[in-house]
Amino acid sequence: MSLSNILKLAGGALNAQTVRLNTIASNLANVETVASSEAQAYRAKRPVFASVLEQASDQLQSGFGVKVQSIAETNRINAQVFDPNNPLADAAGYVYRSNVNPLEEMTDMLDAARSYETAITTASTARELMMRTIDMNTK
């Protein structure tokens, strides 16, 4: 039945958005992280979503769900900062900052939160319609 499938789809969407919020939290936590080389420096992470065809028990082709395919790292360069007093500084006195842009993360977080809310609304509408169908002709 396709209405109950909507709950599955919305659950997948909630899961994907949770992963996205998690990576954003991790990125924001590491805004000020420094490292002694570019290779060790923190790079902002981004989940990559992919659509999946949910296999329904009946033969109907159903809606497309979403899953987290991978978590990619952004390739923006890590800023080099001259800070010879830092214990992590390299031989030349430089530390490498994380490449997280807090503004970008905050807007991404708003978008993720809105997507999360939309998925919840989708599920609750589907649930209401299901209940309404069950209660058909009982009044």
């Binding site: 499938n5 996205r20 082709q61």
Partner: protein, 128 residues
């Protein structure tokens, strides 16, 4: 076709098509940030026309259960986006939300009409 089926008319099929639409649109909303995902929707007219064809299992034995109308063939179409996006995703969340509300309303309407037909039948059976 049983009497109840005849009395219900097209409404169970209409509700089934709208439920399918709801599902497809929910999939679109779930994939609002998936790269290269293309939003789809059900072509109601085509889906209803196809469901109207002889899509039921034939009942040849007293113990056979008549199958409800099912949409075995697809009438899925890609939605044309209002504005292109760089990642190839054509889901426009506001449009999908509106379409979802539209499908939910139509589903409820179909349900209401079917209810009306059923209560008419009930009245006739009771004779009051």
């Amino acid at each position: 076709m049983s009497t109840i089926d005849k009395a219900l008319g097209v409404f169970p099929t209409a509700a089934a098509v709208q439920a399918r639409r709801l599902e497809v649109i929910a999939g679109n909303i779930a994939n609002a940030t998936t790269p290269n995902y293309r939003a789809r929707d059900v072509d109601f007219k085509r889906a209803l026309a196809e469901a109207g064809d002889d899509m039921r299992l034939s009942v040849t034995h007293a113990k056979h259960v008549e199958t409800p109308e099912q949409l075995t063939r697809d009438a899925l179409m890609f939605r044309v986006p209002l504005a292109p996006s760089r990642d190839g995703n054509t889901v426009e969340t506001h449009i999908e939300e509106a379409a979802y509300g539209d499908a939910a309303g139509r589903y409820l309407a179909a349900l209401r009409f079917a209810e009306g037909a059923l209560s008419g039948l009930r009245k006739a059976y009771r004779g009051d």
